[in-house]
Amino acid sequence: MARFQMELPTDLMKDIETLEKNSKKIFGEMTKAGAEVVEKNMTNNAPNDLKSHIKISKTYDTPTDGGVNTKVYISGYIPFSDPNRKYFSRSGGSGKTYRSTEGVPASFLAQLYEYGRSTAPFPKKPFMRKSFRKAEIEAAMMKAQKEASGGIIDE
């Protein structure tokens, strides 16, 4: 019976080994690059009182699916504009009441800007969803992939 045997070039073997060893790092850099684009867009689009509350997380593992992730999130509180105001409260989904004395949670305010509400003392000003520009995010991730892989993966 005819037989065929082929040996992979050493360079290619080394590249594959490098990619295998560094896959988590490469994926991590990619998610970080994508998140940085979203963070930048969100900060540009957000109302002034929320700009400084937009943050980016550390890159972390997600054990349930064996992946890595980097989050953009909104944290902190907006101080009460009325000096006599003592606390902010709202009902949670489970019927519990959430109360804060530090100010209005920035994440709550962000949702009001994004989706509005019926009484609208507050103009609806969506800024989060429009910050996820797919082409821009993908381009940043591809660039990070090339850099993190030492140029082994290009596109």
Partner: protein, 116 residues
């Protein structure tokens, strides 16, 4: 665009009740209603360094103090029949305002437009 939406949703009726539809803002008195506004726009198609087509994204906010699911389904149905494409990831979760008693859901739709 607003004219098109107003035409499509003129006399928007769900379960024999006419649902008011208004641009940006509605002064209600407890009845269910829908407000709409442009949420975003994005380049879609270019040629010879010119914009040929783009996508308009519109939010339709449904407010109701009772069961609003039929309104949501009717709205989706009538807009889809008129060339709008429902954007699941741009639509909101179900929301509830404890102080007013209004349920609220934001539905987002895309509409492809040609640049003349």
């Amino acid at each position: 665009m607003n004219e098109l939406i107003e035409t499509i949703l003129a006399n928007f009726t769900v379960d024999k009740e006419v649902i008011p539809v208004s641009y940006m803002h509605y002064e209600g008195h407890g009845e269910p209603y829908v407000v709409y506004m442009q949420q975003d726009a994005d380049n879609s198609l270019s040629g010879d360094d010119e914009l040929i087509g783009y996508v308009d994204y519109y939010d339709f906010d449904v407010y109701a103090k009772g069961n609003y699911l039929n309104i949501v389904e009717s709205l989706k149905s009538i807009l889809k029949a008129n060339g709008f494409v429902w954007q699941v990831s741009r639509s909101s979760q179900d929301m509830y305002e404890t102080d007013t008693g209004y349920y609220h859901k934001t539905l987002n739709f895309a509409y492809l437009k040609e640049e003349n």
